[in-house]
């Protein structure tokens, strides 16, 4: 799975975002991360085929998440479903 890296000054945490290209909440997460200078990787699931979709689905379910987007995985441990600004601030220490 080829994710796209958005560089940022703050790379303290490893942030992976599963998103949809048309989703407004996913767009908000991207803007939020960018505005706060957080480096992150993202993957627009709707722009990819079955193989990649299956990988994302398996990854989210394995981590006990819901199959909804945006799904943010921080440091490969913490999974956050949806744009929860307060939670993101807390986990990313911003």
């Amino acid at each position: 799975m080829q994710t796209i890296t958005v560089p940022g000054k703050n790379s303290k945490h490893r942030v992976l975002l599963y998103a949809l290209s048309t989703c407004i909440w996913c767009k908000r997460v991207k803007s939020f991360l960018r505005e706060n200078g957080i480096e992150y990787d993202f993957f627009d699931v709707d722009l990819h085929g079955e193989k990649e979709r299956e990988e994302v689905t398996a990854d989210i379910l394995r981590r006990g998440g819901r199959l909804s987007y945006p799904t943010i995985i921080i440091d490969g441990e913490m999974l956050i479903t949806g744009f929860k600004e307060d939670k993101l601030r807390e986990v990313l220490e911003i």
Binding site: W25, T57, L61, R66, L67
Partner: protein
């Protein structure tokens, strides 16, 4: 090809006739309408811009805008899942617009082709496969609204009657003997 203006007119008219408002932020609204237009272009139907479509009308039917979950979501949270439709209070800024939890059952989000998903959610995946198999065998049922007589043919009754807004409990299965 459907234009952005056509999508806008369609949702505006739907909002008006159902007593809803559209997202008050013009930039967010434009993005949502563009998402619907894009989905209509790539899938042939305007599925929710904030949900992953399976590109199968049968599997995506409940997330075609306005989705099956809009009415109970606006009712409970003041906005639908993607925030296209909002209540009067949200529109007027009396209630803040926030992301809301997904009401669509998780098993509906697992595609029939996602094999590995079954290993992780054995029960739900089995349930989802069973329901998909059922529908493919035309095992869907007829339901009617006991309040207004609206009839639909699907796996389960809608949350709210699209005609008279009666709740799901008022739906009964039509049995033909």
């Amino acid at each position: 090809m459907t234009t952005l203006e056509e999508v806008r007119q369609r949702v505006e008219s739907d909002a008006k006739s159902n007593g809803y408002y559209l997202n008050p932020d013009p930039e967010v609204l434009r993005h949502l309408l563009e998402g619907l237009r894009k989905n209509e272009e790539r899938y042939d139907y305007p599925s929710c811009p904030c949900r992953l479509a399976f590109e199968s009308f049968e599997l995506d039917r409940d997330i075609i805008c306005p989705c099956d979950y809009r009415d109970p979501d606006v009712d409970e949270y003041g906005s639908c899942y993607c925030s296209l439709f909002v209540s009067k209070d949200v529109f007027e800024g009396k209630i803040p617009l926030k992301p809301i939890p997904e009401r669509r059952p998780n098993e509906k989000q697992i595609g029939p082709h996602i094999k590995s998903a079954k290993a992780f959610t054995k029960t739900t995946a089995v349930k989802a496969t069973a329901s998909i198999r059922k529908s493919s065998e035309r095992g869907m049922k007829l339901f009617y609204c006991r309040q207004c007589g609206y009839v639909c043919f699907r796996e389960e009754p809608p949350y709210l009657c699209p005609i008279c807004k009666a709740k799901r409990e008022l739906f009964a299965e039509v049995t033909i003997s």
